[in-house]
């Protein structure tokens, strides 16, 4: 098969895909004197992060999904988050970026948000939480399902600032959702809904609404420290009850889960056309040069 045929198919898929790739319109929400910011505080990027998308494309995706703030949280590194903080103000549209890290150990994973350097992954939980606080950050239990509960003793729980109470997979698994909920209520913790984005699926699929006094990184950190977050999981709401009531009184905040895959025949066409073209290109292409 001649190379131009599948290449033309790929070009068609690209043109159609680009044409239908519309971002969510930005919405500036204010309630009760607060800026209500949609955030995702668990985001990984390429390289070294099990994600095919680099910092720039990840920030573009966050903007496209209507996020106002993201925390870039590489595994046991922070330099990618530093790049994101440098890049964000230079982009035409970008969410606020917080520097973060997912401290990844065999026993537990903790998100360090707003830290000024990398936290070692060789410390016990209590010392990890202390190190995060010494570096100016807040500590969030990442995916605290039942399997890791043994690592969270009462002393560690007291040092913890927040926990992921809603995650994308748990929004479809009642058992998982119940475990996250049970962990969250063991001690007063700030509620987070994070997507644990690895470049696949939708960033902000689960999201956290932050009630900040100013639309800045400092404003977001202050709001989190004060526990001013609201998170939705279908008909449930987590976080500050006064803010949940405030949101309800002001028409509510978006809580519907996005459809996966996103609907539309043009999207389906673009996807199938791209897949078929790549498969044909790598399997059957002979380059029309007499080869083989």
């Amino acid at each position: 098969m001649r190379a131009w045929l599948p290449l033309a198919g790929l070009a068609v898929a690209l043109v159609v895909g680009t044409a239908i790739d519309r971002p969510v319109e930005p919405v500036a929400r204010t309630m009760g004197g607060y800026h209500v910011l949609a955030g995702d505080f668990h985001v990984h990027v390429f390289p070294f992060g099990w994600s095919p998308l680099s910092v720039r494309e990840t920030l573009l995706e966050a903007t496209r999904q209507g996020l106002d703030v993201v925390a870039i949280t590489p595994h046991v590194q922070t330099w990618q988050a530093g790049v994101a903080q440098w890049l964000a103000p230079r982009m035409s549209r970008s969410p606020i970026v917080l520097k973060g890290e997912e401290v990844t150990t065999p026993g537990f994973h903790v998100l360090a948000i707003g830290v000024d350097g990398t936290i070692s992954d060789r410390l016990p939980l209590g010392e990890t939480l202390d190190a995060i606080h010494r570096r100016g950050g807040i500590a969030i239990a990442a995916h605290p399902y039942r399997a890791v509960w043994d690592h969270y003793d009462s002393a560690s729980l007291r040092k913890l600032d927040g926990s992921e109470v809603v995650r994308p997979e748990a929004q479809y698994m009642e058992q998982g959702a119940a475990e996250l909920r049970e962990f969250h209520v063991r001690t007063p913790l700030t509620a987070f809904g994070n997507s644990d984005y690895h470049g696949f699926g939708l960033i902000g699929f689960s999201r956290t609404y932050v009630f900040a006094t100013e639309r800045t990184a400092r404003g977001v950190m202050d709001a989190i420290r004060a526990g001013r977050t609201v998170v939705y999981d279908r008909d449930r709401a987590y976080g500050d009850p006064a803010l949940i009531a405030l949101a309800d009184a002001n028409g509510g905040l978006p809580r519907a889960m996005p459809q996966v895959p996103e609907p539309g025949w043009l999207r389906t066409f673009s996807r199938l056309c791209a897949v078929a073209s790549i498969a044909i290109l790598v399997l059957f292409n002979q380059w029309n040069n007499g080869a083989r």
């Binding site: 898929a13 690209l14 895909g17 573009l60 995650r167 996807r271 790598v282």
Partner: protein, 184 residues
Amino acid sequence: MSPQQGGFFVAIRRPLVITAALGCLASLGSTGIVTARLAGPAVVYWTYAPLTELLAVGLVLMVTRRGPQRLSAAVDAHFAGCAAVILLLLLIGVMLGSTRPDLAWALLTTAGVAMVLAGLAWSARIDYCYFRDFLRQTPRGALVRVLLLRIFVWPIVFGVFAVPGLTFRAMGDEFAGIVRELLG
């Protein structure tokens, strides 16, 4: 492949196609469509994967008797065998980008693992046949070259994608983590 066919373009055309495919996969996996906003930049930084393979193949072929085959033609023939890995990535990318989050994880840790193992075995078989049949190597010589390629390429490609720090210790930690995840 005709031994008379050669030249720089012949050597890089399939790596270029693979690079384009990887960029498209990055976009497909994230949005379910191929969009210039994501695929364009991803093509640029995913060049590291075929480039690593290209360097490794070039080195191995330079110390391999190729008979009448030109280096560029031999490189081209080698990259024709990368279809297995590209198709594998294509399936996984579309699966992750077009499936509900809970199903995506369940699929990745079951069918995904099976697909990865099958793809790796298929890819190794193709490379072995390439060295045996196309370059007329002995069975031992072909096996050594297949192993050399993997020892050189895989740690770099996988490491840059997934391993923080790219150290041997981090690599070990990452594999231990994968095993723990799969065993539940």
